[in-house]
């Protein structure tokens, strides 16, 4: 098999996931949080595709496409919310957006 082996893909996936998770945990702008979530999802996709190659089965790739569809839908909802916040001149800060607390 040409190119790097599956462990490398997994390593990249892990790094990407960590970067995404850090972004979700540390950044306060909802836009960046969404971006970071996308990075995490793509890290998962990468791992799925990597395993798919390793096992020679297409299941993982199909799952990856499913994840992409869900991610797209999620971003649509998330961006819609952010636009709504912006229209109402609300601070774009996830720490400030606590209206739904118990």
């Amino acid at each position: 098999m040409l190119g790097p082996g599956v462990p490398w893909y997994l390593a990249v996936s892990g790094v990407l996931f960590a970067i995404g998770a850090t972004g979700v945990l540390l950044r306060r702008s909802p836009l960046i949080v969404l971006l970071s979530l996308e990075i995490m999802l793509n890290a998962s996709n990468l791992a799925l595709v990597g395993f798919s190659r390793l096992l020679g089965a297409v299941d993982g790739q199909v799952f990856a496409i499913g994840v992409m569809a869900v991610a797209a839908a999620e971003v649509t909802v998330g961006l819609g919310l952010i636009v709504a916040f912006a229209r109402r001149d609300m601070e774009l800060d996830v720490d400030a957006l606590t209206e739904l607390r118990g």
């Binding site: 720490d95 957006l97 118990g102």
Partner: protein
């Protein structure tokens, strides 16, 4: 022809439903006629059934007809089935015949009342319930009818629901009957457990065949007897009957003369194999009857309310029927039931005319001299009174003497006790019946202040034709109804019932004639005592002590209040204070508060801070990963 019996059963129900559904769309008078005609349609059905049964052989006069099976659990099946045999037919004819006359009479009596439609619908419902009771082809259907009769009587006694006394009387009747119903139901449960069936045939077979222990038989018979005692207002479950006079007078006539109160007698005769297998309980029934007829006879001597005197008289006469059924003289018990339905309904309805005329006055001290102004009522009431006292050849003479001779024929200490009680009862009957009659119809009219003038203006009318015809018919029946069974000549009725319930005692001709003579003499003696007291202007019971006791009806109400009502009240209060408030109510409050506190705690975790959630999830994932790795 069995369809006649089905028609008899369902015609009154149809009437009740039609009146209820039609509601305000029909006039009140129309409601009265629908009710009357539906009951008479039932009578027609009963007649058809009767005539077709007469055409059969004596051995073949029992027909069981099943519409469908409506309760089946394992081997236990009960169907909607009716039984038509001479006993059921007798009751069907009496219930629809006398009942129809009473409903007809109501059209005049209730005219102008509010809620006449409700009245007539309930009357028809009552007749249906009673028919269900007597036609039920198994014990469960009998119990269904039994319960429905209780409900309908509750509705009718409490018809004047704006009067607190009427409501209280209705409740009392219902509760007293419920006690009996519960005892009866327990007896039936026992039968289901031991016999596995409530069919008359199988139950009687088991009772007679010796397959049941004597304890079982005694308990079942006691349950049946308790039900019968409550329904028939016998001691000790009798206190509802006088109070039930709060209902309209035709209701009193229907429930307290012709139908419901006699259901107990019917029950004993119907289930006689069970009672014969438990002779102790059967004799208890006779003793209860004897005691009741004496107590009621004494209490009737001092009552001032016209209807209550008749009510106590009913209790007393049903005591006679219990006595007869208790010694096994089923034919005589049913015979007296039939004649009593005639003359007691007549007395109630005639009293209704008087009460109606006097604008609801029921106190006999304020009556008197009505003989001259109300000749029709006077003569019919007199017929009823003489029939009650047992003057030949009126109906009551034949049936009451038959019962007394049966008591005599029973022999032994029990027989003599019952005979003595019966004779003393006949004396009392003569006294209270004549007292009532004399005070209402003879002598000088009491100063009825405003009433007298008002009624003079009404003229001599005694009521509309719809009231007078039924009273006339009942008077005729009271006069000749006893001739269906004449000792020494023919015993048609006795043999007719004997096809269902063979008499255990058969008085000899000498006993028949002897008791007849004694009973008539005693009744006349009682009547003469009442007459002398009346002409001397004094009361029958003059001893102050005895009088007080009788006026308080032997303190039964007070006793029950002290023994049952008050302790129950105290226990209920204790339970509320010591159990319900601290335990039930307290714990409920606690549970509510606890849930709320827990919710508040959980709510604090829900910060709305997105990044806190994310951190929690991330941290949880890390923990899980570590755990999984460690476990592996």
């Amino acid at each position: 022809m069995i369809w006649g019996a089905w028609l008899c059963l369902f015609a009154p129900l149809g009437g009740a439903i039609a009146i209820t559904v039609a509601g305000e769309r029909i006039s009140r008078t129309a409601a009265g006629w629908i009710s009357t005609l539906s009951v008479f349609a039932g009578f027609a059905g009963a007649l058809v059934s009767f005539v077709s049964t007469l055409g059969r052989d004596a051995a073949d006069r029992e027909q069981l007809s099943t519409a469908w099976s409506w309760l089946a659990a394992g081997d236990f099946r009960v169907g909607l089935q009716i039984l038509v045999d001479p006993l059921a037919l007798t009751m069907m004819l009496v219930v629809t015949g006398v009942g129809g006359l009473i409903v007809w009479y109501s059209i005049g009596y209730m005219h102008g009342e509010d809620e006449e439609r409700r009245y007539f619908a309930t009357m028809a419902l009552f007749v249906f319930s009673m028919l269900m009771l007597v036609q039920g082809g198994n014990l469960l259907l009998l119990l269904v009818g039994w319960g429905l009769v209780g409900l309908a009587s509750y509705l009718l006694i409490g018809f004047y629901h704006e009067r607190p006394e009427a409501v209280a009387a209705a409740k009392k009747a219902f509760v007293m009957n419920a006690v009996g119903d519960a005892a009866m139901a327990l007896g039936f449960f026992l039968l289901i457990a031991k016999v596995g069936s409530l069919d008359f045939g199988r139950v009687f077979e088991a009772a007679q065949g010796g397959g049941l222990s004597s304890t079982t038989l005694n308990l079942v018979a006691l349950g049946l007897l308790a039900g019968a005692v409550a329904k028939s207002a016998q001691i000790p479950l009798h206190t509802w009957l006088p109070d039930a006079m709060e209902g309209p007078t035709p209701v009193s006539a229907l429930i307290h003369a012709a139908t419901m109160v006699t259901a107990g007698v019917y029950l004993i005769v119907r289930t006689h194999p069970v009672f014969e297998a438990a002779p102790g309980v059967q004799h208890l029934a006779a003793i209860i009857g004897a005691v009741t007829l004496l107590v009621a006879g004494f209490v009737a001597l001092v009552q001032w309310d016209m209807k209550r005197v008749i009510a106590y008289s009913t209790m007393s006469q049903i005591g006679y029927m219990f006595l007869a059924a208790g010694v096994g003289a089923y034919g005589f018990a049913m015979f007296h039931l039939v004649t009593h339905a005639f003359f007691k309904a007549l007395m109630f309805l005639a009293a209704g005319i008087v009460i109606h005329r006097l604008d609801g006055e029921q106190d006999i001290r304020k009556m008197g001299g009505l003989r001259r102004t109300m000749p029709f009522t006077w003569i019919t009431f007199l017929v009823g009174t003489l029939a009650l006292v047992g003057i030949p050849p009126l109906a009551g003479f034949w049936s009451k003497d038959a019962i007394l001779s049966a008591a005599l024929a029973t022999g032994g200490a029990l027989g003599w006790f019952l005979f003595a009680a019966g004779i003393l009862g006949a004396f009392l009957t003569g006294m209270y019946a004549l007292r009532l009659y004399l005070m209402v119809f003879e002598g000088e009219p009491a100063a009825r202040d405003a009433h007298a003038g008002g009624h003079a203006a009404h003229g001599r009318g005694e009521g509309p034709r719809s009231m007078l015809i039924p009273v006339g018919a009942l008077a005729a029946l009271s006069a000749v109804g006893g001739l269906i069974n004449v000792p020494g000549a023919w015993r048609t009725f006795e043999h007719w019932i004997g096809e269902v319930a063979v008499q255990l005692v058969e008085p000899s001709v000498a006993q028949d004639y002897g008791t007849s003579a004694v009973a008539v003499l005693v009744g006349v003696a009682g009547a003469l005592v009442a007459r002398r007291a009346f002409t001397q202007g004094r009361e029958l019971v003059t001893m102050p002590g005895a009088r007080t006791v009788l006026e308080h009806k032997l303190y039964f109400d007070e006793l029950y209040d002290a023994v049952f009502a008050r302790p129950a009240q105290i226990v209920a209060d204790r339970l509320r204070e010591d159990v319900e408030t601290p335990v039930v109510q307290g714990s409920l409050t606690e549970i509510g508060a606890g849930t709320r506190a827990a919710a508040a705690g959980v709510a604090r975790l829900q910060t709305g801070l997105l990044r806190t959630y994310a951190l929690t999830i991330a941290a949880s994932v890390v923990v899980l990963v570590v755990v999984f790795l460690a476990v592996r």
